[in-house]
């Protein structure tokens, strides 16, 4: 079996096992038939209700669910990339959530308070969000490089700082949107029409430019890591910092830039959320997409494309999960599946050992995540 396939198997098997365990849980608490039906509903809710469409229903039974999935997948892809990029240089970025909040706020401010022509407004807002995320992650990167502060600690703490700064002060204070038509609103002002990410499948579906943008980002990160000199240096630092230093690679600069890129990805996730769906920074940005990024990256084996596939899969599950409620199954099951898959992937070495016993595998063993 090719090495590349062997590296993917633990993730695939973990996801399948998680699906199986959750099916059994639903089957035990309700009925086996309900469990199967719930999974089907989740599928149709994620990729579109194809049976209904083939029976003659309107195209929106396909495009609406696909839009929901794509929206979630785009954000998960970006936060997953954030964690994966940092991982490649040997850093564990727990701070995608905080970086995403800063990015979302920057996008909301750029979108509402700056006036630019349509072709420039969206790129400018995205850039602002990326820079805000990069700066927030850069704090942790610099602390690590110059003061030796472990990035796990600093990024966790910066998440709380970001939450307090953005949700508890800026958005309810200085940046709070003006009351409109006698109605007081929470959150920042509505972004201008020129800053809205264009929808791609018409108004019936929330699929917007954020989705192809996230895919392009993943592709770009992958090309950068595997095809360029600086990407090679980044991987070399992550896999053997001392050897990289001896080879003349600027270790501190690689760490700093990779951390900034990680922050930029998380910042973009915030921008896609604000410019694509929310339309402003709401009172609170509840969804913990930044933390989901950790699971997405690890299930994707910290590979940019692996993280993308894993984000697509869980985007579909998340979007479809709401439809499970029709059968009395709680909509948090997709998150449970994701959590269990992460738990099983953490036993990666066990999977590889099991697989090795069956096959005459090469002497190479897996890259062990450093946590």
């Amino acid at each position: 079996m090719p090495e590349r396939v062997r590296q993917m198997l633990p993730s695939v098997l973990s996801v399948l096992l998680a699906l199986g365990v959750c099916w059994a849980l639903i089957a035990l608490t309700l009925e086996p038939g309900t469990a199967t039906d719930a999974y089907l509903q989740m599928l149709w809710g994620g990729i579109g209700n194809w049976p209904a469409y083939l029976d003659g229903a309107a195209a929106t039974v396909i495009t609406r669910p696909l839009g929901e999935s794509a929206m979630k997948a785009a954000i998960l892809t970006l936060t997953g990339l954030s964690v994966a990029v940092a991982f490649k240089v040997g850093l564990f970025n727990i701070g995608a959530q905080g970086q995403m909040l800063l990015g979302a706020l920057a996008a909301a401010v750029m979108g509402a308070q700056v006036s630019l022509p349509g072709v420039l407004h969206v790129p400018a807002a995205l850039l602002g969000a990326a820079l805000a995320g990069a700066a927030w992650a850069g704090i942790a990167g610099l602390l690590r490089i110059y003061r030796g502060v472990h990035e796990v600690i600093s990024t966790i703490m910066l998440n709380w700082v970001a939450l307090s700064l953005v949700d508890n002060w800026l958005v309810v204070g200085p940046l709070r949107g003006a009351a409109e038509g006698g109605q007081s609103i929470t959150g920042t002002a509505e972004i201008q029409a020129t800053a809205v990410l264009p929808r791609l499948l018409g108004e019936g579906s929330r699929l917007n430019l954020g989705f192809p943008l996230a895919l392009a980002a993943a592709l770009a990160v992958w090309v950068w890591l595997t095809r360029t000199r600086s990407g090679f240096e980044t991987r070399a630092v992550g896999l053997g910092a001392e050897a990289a230093r001896a080879a003349g690679i600027p270790v501190a600069r690689r760490m700093g830039l990779a951390m900034a890129l990680a922050g930029a990805m998380a910042g973009l996730a915030g921008a896609v959320l604000v410019l694509g769906t929310e339309g402003r920074y709401p009172g609170t940005l509840g969804a913990p997409y930044g933390f989901d990024g950790i699971a997405i990256a690890l299930i994707g084996n910290n590979h940019p494309l692996g993280a993308t596939v894993s984000a697509l899969f869980f985007g579909v599950l998340r979007a479809g999960g709401t439809r499970m409620q029709l059968l009395g199954v709680h909509k948090s099951f997709p998150e449970l599946i994701q959590g269990l898959a992460l738990l099983f992937v953490a036993g990666r070495m066990v999977w590889l050992a099991l697989l090795r016993r069956r096959n005459v595998a090469p002497a190479a063993s897996a890259e062990v995540p450093r946590a």
């Binding site: 360029t228 000199r229 240096e233 991987r235 053997g240 001392e242 001896a246 003349g248 090469p362």
Partner: protein
């Protein structure tokens, strides 16, 4: 060894001193032979057995928990308890009693990381005695001590012997051994070659015994004498000083020169500044004082990248840590350090084709097995990994090549190949600085040799002046520093 005596074991690096002691302490199992204690054959499966039979060991690197107190460290592993809870008061009392019995002055409640190195060593000794050690093994105990602390340790050891304990002291510092030991066993190449009474011998005799009488044949044939005069000066340092990892001076004023087309050997016992010298020359360690010219630029402020650009090649001692990234493929490792230049790069992009072709050529030329550029480096044996390193560094056509322990752990064939490649590089005009703890290797390859002792050059020999006994004495610091 007899009860109530102080036996010293001396020998060159790699003579087998530490291995022997590790067998005594149960860390290693003997392949054959019998260990007897009080006339009874014994077999220690682990240090636990050895401790139970009254053997204690103080390692060169202390095994203490820095944030715990002296008393906590001493009782660690056999803590007194009361109702299942740790009884620290009793621990302090017990440790105080042990200290008093053997005349140690230690504050049981002091945190270990607040103590001086010499006091920490006493904690180690007390720890062994507290467990009822009758035989105490000290591995290079003075390596980390100041002269005053060493004198204090000598008094402690004599005191223990006077109380009927047996002390085994492993060292390569002949003067202190002569001052403190009753008997001295000399080891060379895994054998005990002599056993003498300390009162009946001199440092000169011991050095001769340790190094051998020069009767052994060189491992590889001597190189052809360089007919042409050595070329331009590549490296010239004056008064070089640098600090070691432990914060103490490792280089204390080194003068040396390397010219094009010669192999310059650095001989010395491990830990006398050779490693730090190699690190300074490759930009991995800053120098604290002194001046130097390295390939047309200053030596101070040198970064690893600058060293590479100027033409310094480096085959480091710690292969897996410094030379290669074992999770990367062979071809990626071949590119490491040169990945920004053709044929490994085209502009900002990796040149996959060029890299593959060059790697294939090198795996054939250096007989790397398997000759597969895509396989992860970790899948190669140590010898083949080293071939990849040597191939990479020589392929870069360095003007100065800094080589540290290039053949450690390699089999005979690989050793011969590495030696041949180094000579070939020398003949093509590269200046080679060879650091090795294997004196034979240094003598077999070098055109000139500097001897290092305690961060200084204590000898300089041209090829026709090589004399193993004289070199050995200078390596052990038994003669005053000076040039031959």
């Amino acid at each position: 060894m007899r009860r109530g005596e102080l036996l010293a074991v001396v020998g060159e690096n790699g003579a087998g001193k530490s291995s022997l002691m590790n067998v005594l302490y149960g860390l290693y199992q003997p392949d054959s032979g019998v260990l007897s204690l009080d006339g009874q054959p014994v077999r220690f499966k682990s240090p636990r057995d050895a401790i139970a039979r009254g053997i204690g060991m103080v390692h060169q690197h202390f095994m203490l928990v820095p944030t715990l107190s002296v008393a906590e460290n001493v009782v660690l592993g056999r803590e007194p308890t009361r109702n299942g809870l740790l009884d620290l008061e009793r621990a302090v009392q017990e440790v105080s009693a042990t200290c008093a019995r053997f005349g140690f002055q230690l504050e049981p409640r002091a945190r270990v990381d607040t103590l001086s190195v010499g006091s920490q060593q006493k904690v180690e000794i007390v720890k062994a005695l507290h467990r009822g050690a009758q035989v105490l093994i000290l591995d290079e105990p003075t390596a980390v001590l100041t002269p005053q602390e060493s004198d204090e340790l000598a008094r402690v050891m004599r005191g223990l012997v006077a109380q009927g304990h047996t002390v085994v002291l492993i060292s390569h510092k002949l003067k202190e051994v002569l001052g403190v030991a009753d008997r001295i066993a000399v080891m060379r190449r895994g054998r005990c070659v002599a056993e003498v009474r300390a009162a009946d011998t001199t440092a000169e005799q011991l050095a001769a015994l340790m190094v051998g009488e020069g009767q052994r044949a060189p491992a590889t044939t001597s190189p052809p004498a360089v007919s042409q005069a050595p070329g331009e000066s590549l490296l010239n340092v004056r008064g070089l000083q640098a600090t070691g990892d432990n914060g103490r001076p490792a280089l204390r004023g080194v003068d040396l020169e390397v010219r094009a087309g010669e192999i310059v050997g650095i001989a010395g016992v491990d830990g006398n500044g050779q490693r730090e010298l190699a690190e300074v020359l490759t930009g991995l360690r800053p120098l604290t004082s002194g001046s130097g010219a390295l390939l047309g630029g200053p030596l101070s402020g040198l970064t690893p990248a600058q060293a590479r650009t100027r033409g310094v090649g480096h085959i480091p001692e710690d292969r897996l840590h410094r030379a290669v990234v074992k999770a990367l493929s062979v071809e990626e490792n071949v590119a490491l350090g040169r990945h920004t230049r053709p044929p490994f790069a085209k502009g900002p992009w990796i040149d996959f084709k060029g890299r593959r072709e060059r790697t294939r050529e090198l795996t054939v030329a250096y007989d790397v097995r398997p000759p597969d550029p895509e396989v992860a480096l970790r899948a190669l044996s140590g010898g083949n990994q080293q071939k990849v390193v040597v191939a990479r560094e020589l392929d870069a056509r360095p003007r100065l090549l800094v080589v540290v322990q290039p053949t450690r752990g390699l089999d005979v064939g690989a050793v011969a190949q590495v030696h041949a490649k180094l000579r070939e590089a020398r003949d093509q005009g590269t200046g080679v600085l060879l650091v090795s703890l294997d004196l034979e290797e240094v003598l077999a390859l070098s055109d000139r040799v500097y001897v290092f002792f305690e961060g200084r050059v204590t000898g300089h020999f041209l090829r026709h002046e090589f004399d193993e006994r004289e070199l050995g004495r200078r390596m052990l610091g038994t003669t005053e520093p000076g040039h031959a």
